[in-house]
């Protein structure tokens, strides 16, 4: 089966491209990036601020059930062209990853389908590779934690 979301990360480059085709009209896809309450739903984080305009900024925050902040991110919007493109920075706070530059391009395919092209530029190749491996490493850690759980119950 063809994958709807593809990642193109060339060796030795400090950038990557995420592409996705949506079963949605272009306007709806773009709305999902603009309306804070919708962004909250699909990104799984609270949106503290989202000014969808040139020179606007945004802030995301995620807290766990106990109210501890587990994720904070922010960025500035450099370019905002409705139904066309968003150019913005993204930075996870309190992490060593630093800021990344994101070029989001929205394209109409048919009346009911659209495409997103997300070009991300990192400060260095090493940082990009580290971020790429993050979910992979987290997956391994989770598997490891589960294993520890099971093992400790066996004792």
């Amino acid at each position: 089966m063809e994958q709807k979301t593809t990642i193109n990360a060339e060796d030795g480059k400090q950038e990557l491209v995420i592409t996705r085709e949506f079963d949605l009209p272009l306007e709806l896809l773009f709305t999902a990036y603009v309306e804070p309450e919708i962004v909250e739903q699909w990104m799984g984080t609270k949106v503290l601020k989202l000014e969808s305009k040139k020179h606007g900024s945004y802030r995301f925050e995620t807290t766990d059930a106990q109210g501890n902040v587990v994720f904070q991110a922010n960025g500035v919007i450099h370019e905002f062209v409705p139904n066309r493109k968003i150019t913005r920075t993204f930075e996870m706070e309190n992490t060593p990853f630093g800021v990344q530059l994101e070029f989001l391009e929205f394209d109409k395919l048919t009346d009911d389908t659209s495409k997103l092209n997300m070009h991300i530029v990192y400060r260095s190749v090493a940082l990009r590779d580290q971020l790429l491996k993050l979910p992979f490493a987290q997956g391994i850690n989770m598997a490891h934690d589960r294993l520890q759980d099971i093992v400790s119950k066996l004792k």
Binding site: T5, G12, W42, F136
Partner: protein
């Protein structure tokens, strides 16, 4: 998995990546591989040794010659390391699609 060398370290080297590309289409002897590079023969041998240790390359005895070829299983493992990252975005976008389909019908 207890390997003497890290696979990602192995593919971080441009010469080693070039070797992998070279043998991707056909199995080759060390001599044939080395003839494609300006680097000294022992250097190429060292690269082949590292790639073999990480099981990215496999050796095959053909009469008096040793041929090197890719180990597709190991190559796939490297390709797979990006998969959780892709999956993360795929899940997010699937959610976005579902939410917006409902949003559309509400309007």
């Amino acid at each position: 998995m207890n390997l003497r060398r890290d696979v990602f370290q192995a593919i971080a080297d441009p010469t080693r990546r070039a070797i992998l590309l070279l043998v991707a289409s056909q199995s080759m002897t060390a001599g044939a591989i080395a003839s494609n590079f300006d680097t000294a023969r022992p250097t190429v041998s060292k690269h082949l040794q590292i790639l073999t240790e990480c099981e990215l390359l496999e050796q095959e005895q053909n009469g008096r010659e040793i041929h090197y070829h890719l180990n597709p299983k190991r190559i796939k493992e490297i390709a797979d390391f990006i998969e959780p990252f892709r999956k993360l975005w795929d899940d997010r976008f699937n959610k976005l699609e579902t939410i917006m389909k409902k949003y559309k019908s509400k309007k």
